[in-house]
């Protein structure tokens, strides 16, 4: 269960579990977290639970609500966040939230608007959609580039800063370099001729590239250069 730890000058004043759907923070005695500080409003902020999230919201307090040093009217609390209220610090702890795996399991939940299960007519409404973006990945990726030694685009340097980069020509001979945490890999995409690496035909599905490798694909000759120790 998520926990809140209130401290002042390094000493813990109060700890409580976030065990209800809404709790308030402020100077008044009725709050779940009472903070006796003149710069804190009587009802200063609230934490509400929505699904797996605890959302901190400022309740139009006189001096605002700060998280990790920044003023924020609203924040989906992350494990380790520190809220400031006057001279007090309130730390949010939720190790389960920090461990990604637990929250990835698809589960059914009642919608906010209270979804009814009654059948409605088939709708032909247009659905324009902005997708919710992916989570920020926490993997470290290598850096590198390809220099075109000969053929079309000779002298060009292609930075390998995206998940894949293709070389050659579509409909003819095409190869791909894949950027993965463990390094860069070469694979054949299409075409009658397999790419050559240092003169030899690519034998496996994907080949781990080493800095200095020379690749022939289509009518281009490329040199792969990796940063750092390979």
């Amino acid at each position: 269960m998520a926990k809140l730890v209130l401290s002042a000058q390094g000493a813990v004043v109060q700890q409580c579990f976030v065990d209800r759907d809404r709790l308030t923070i402020g100077r008044d005695a009725h709050n779940a977290i009472v903070i006796d500080d003149p710069s804190v409003s009587r009802e200063h902020a609230q934490i509400t639970r929505v699904g797996n999230d605890h959302i901190l919201e400022d309740l139009r307090s006189a001096n605002g609500t700060y998280v990790n040093g920044e003023q924020m009217p609203r924040r989906i609390l992350q494990h380790g966040d520190v809220m400031q209220f006057g001279a007090f610090h309130l730390r949010y702890l939720n190790p389960r939230a920090a461990s990604e795996a637990d929250f990835e399991r698809t589960m059914l939940i009642e919608g906010i608007a209270g979804d009814s299960s009654a059948r409605t007519a088939v709708k032909l409404a247009e659905a324009q959609s902005d997708g919710i973006g992916a989570r920020a990945p926490r993997t470290r990726l290598p850096t590198g580039r390809v220099k075109v030694l000969a053929g079309p685009d000779a002298e060009r340097v292609v930075e390998l800063d995206r998940v894949i980069a293709t070389f050659g020509r579509r409909g003819a001979d095409l190869a791909v370099i894949v950027r993965r945490p463990q390094g860069y890999f070469l694979a054949h995409v299409e075409g009658a001729h397999l790419p050559l690496v240092n003169g030899s035909e690519l034998q496996s599905q994907a080949l781990a590239l080493r800095s200095g490798d020379v690749i022939d694909v289509g009518d281009q000759r490329l040199e792969f250069v990796a940063d750092g120790a390979t």
């Binding site: 999230d53 939230a97 990835e104 698809t106 589960m107 299960s117 791909v176």
Partner: protein, 272 residues
């Protein structure tokens, strides 16, 4: 039934963390159908729910498709899909009622039915359907997810959504009630289009921009594109099962025009 208008590839992977794969995929290129389901429920019931969903769905589509073709009324592919999804829903619901271990099980669904130069999109839950057209990837579905509702209600901004822990909480699913109203609509399907169906195990871990880049660059080798999409999801954590289906329209696919003779014989058969 000629199917050379459609090129497909599909892949379903348990991911890096889960013990079981509760996603299911099915493709029937002859019929022009691709279906993907992400199951949920205690102790592997999710596997059952998603497998029943795609199996019953394809069987139902096949039998309804014959009726679709022999009817002399206007073709109604949307109703074919709606009826088939409801049949799958009932099958899961009844299975859940019959066995205590399966109680409460359900599944998301993403379905594409290619018919007569168009596509019928059916979905429920947070599995998605995108379309790549003119090198640009567009999301065609709107997630039935708590996070989506939070954003729509203005509770959470789209940027904050990246920090939410509510990603996998779906608000609607197949199998949890005797009847269901899936999202259904028809859209265009032109030669060169690539449709991407995926479970949230992909879209939660791989940015749309990267999905677009992989599908666009490797559309001449869909199997490789599918492989690299799944691999990217796993390299970014692989916290959930990850599944993807790619379907590329190779050429136009008009519905065969029924000859006058077929129409007459259909009428004759019905009037007996």
């Amino acid at each position: 039934m000629p199917h050379d208008f459609l090129e497909t590839a599909g892949l379903s992977d348990v991911g890096n963390v889960r013990q079981y794969n509760e996603d299911s995929i099915a493709i029937d290129a002859d019929l022009g159908v691709a279906a993907l389901a992400d199951g949920m429920g205690g102790h592997r019931a999710g596997e059952v729910a998603s497998r029943v969903a795609v199996d019953v769905l394809l069987r139902a589509m096949r039998s309804r498709w014959h009726r679709l073709r022999s009817a002399d009324r206007q073709h109604r592919p949307l109703l074919v899909v709606d009826g088939s999804i409801n049949q799958a829903n009932r099958a899961i619901y009844q299975a859940a009622q019959a066995q205590p271990a399966y109680q409460g099980m359900g599944t998301t669904l993403a379905l594409t039915f290619f018919y007569d130069n168009a596509v019928v999109l059916g979905h429920i839950g947070d599995s998605r359907i995108y379309r790549l057209r003119d090198a640009s990837l567009n999301l065609l579905t709107r997630d039935d997810s708590l996070l989506r509702e939070q954003i729509d209600l203005g509770l959470v901004s789209a940027e904050d959504a990246r920090q939410s822990h509510n990603r996998s909480l779906v608000t609607r699913a197949l199998g949890i009630a005797p009847e269901v109203a899936p999202h259904l609509r028809a859209d265009t399907a032109l030669p060169g289009d690539v449709f991407v169906l995926c479970s949230d195990g992909l879209s939660d871990l791989v940015d749309d921009a990267d999905i677009e880049l992989i599908v666009e660059s490797l559309q001449s080798n869909l199997a490789l594109a599918a492989q690299l999409l799944v691999q990217a999801a796993k390299d970014n954590g692989g916290y959930d099962n990850v599944s993807v289906i790619l379907a590329r329209i190779v050429k136009p696919f008009p519905a065969e025009v029924l000859t006058l003779w077929e129409r007459l014989t259909a009428l004759f058969r019905r009037s007996r």
